[in-house]
């Protein structure tokens, strides 16, 4: 179970190999890679700067991962989130979950990215032809996260 917050890019093939190498009980790994898009809200985006809250970011990602491990039978889980300046096409985030069963791998990976988007302290600043602007939180992200709320 690993959380990394870094400026540098990551190597998805190497991360997958590290997660599965030498293990023979994993039936499936689901991975999600988030990328910088060149358009947002109809406007061109030439660059994006990701600010975060060092210390809290790591704690929050670890808490999210722990929650996933409680809900699903996982062999492993990995979150890597970049910060700093990124350009369209650059990788932002990798979430990967390994399980004996593919349903658990899919659900937990989807849960992790949905929860991360509403709980991990990252903020995106987009550079557009009209200048810089802070990305606003989306209701659709709140809705996506709410799907995973536990029944009381």
């Amino acid at each position: 179970m690993t959380v990394k917050v870094q400026r540098e890019d990551f190597d998805v093939g190497a991360e997958l190999a590290a997660m599965t190498g030498g293990k023979t009980g994993i039936g499936g790994v689901t991975l999600f890679v988030g990328l910088v898009r060149d358009m947002a809200g109809g406007e061109a985006v030439s660059a994006m700067t990701l600010e975060h809250y060092p210390g809290m970011t790591e704690k929050e990602l670890e808490a999210i991962e722990a929650e996933a491990r409680q809900r699903w039978p996982l062999d492993d889980a990995l979150i890597i989130h970049r910060h700093g300046r990124l350009e369209p096409g650059d990788r932002i985030v990798l979430v990967a979950t390994a399980s004996a069963h593919r349903q658990a791998a899919f659900e937990s990976c989807h849960f992790l990215i949905d929860w991360l988007k509403t709980r991990a302290p990252f903020w995106k600043l987009e550079a557009t032809p009209d200048g810089e602007r802070w990305v606003e939180a989306k209701d659709s992200d709140d809705d996506a996260a709410a799907r995973w709320a536990k029944p009381a």
Binding site: G34, E60, I92, R119, A120
Partner: protein, 83 residues
Amino acid sequence: MKILYFAWLRTKIGVAAETVDLPAEVRDVGGLVDWLKTRSPKHADALANSTVVKVAVNQEHVPYDHPVGPGDEVALFPPVTGG
């Protein structure tokens, strides 16, 4: 008490962090945000709409009725947009 600001709260207020002497009557997050608004017009402007001002105390998300004390690290920020 150490106060941290992130994203557009940081750029509107103009500082990333400040250390404040907490008045004795400020006991929770809501009271702290109201008191911070009195520090400058920039604070008042940035903190005007509390529905978009989220708070973490000692690096944990908390609601406005959460207690605060002089030794806490308090962070104010807009809704998160990572991922």
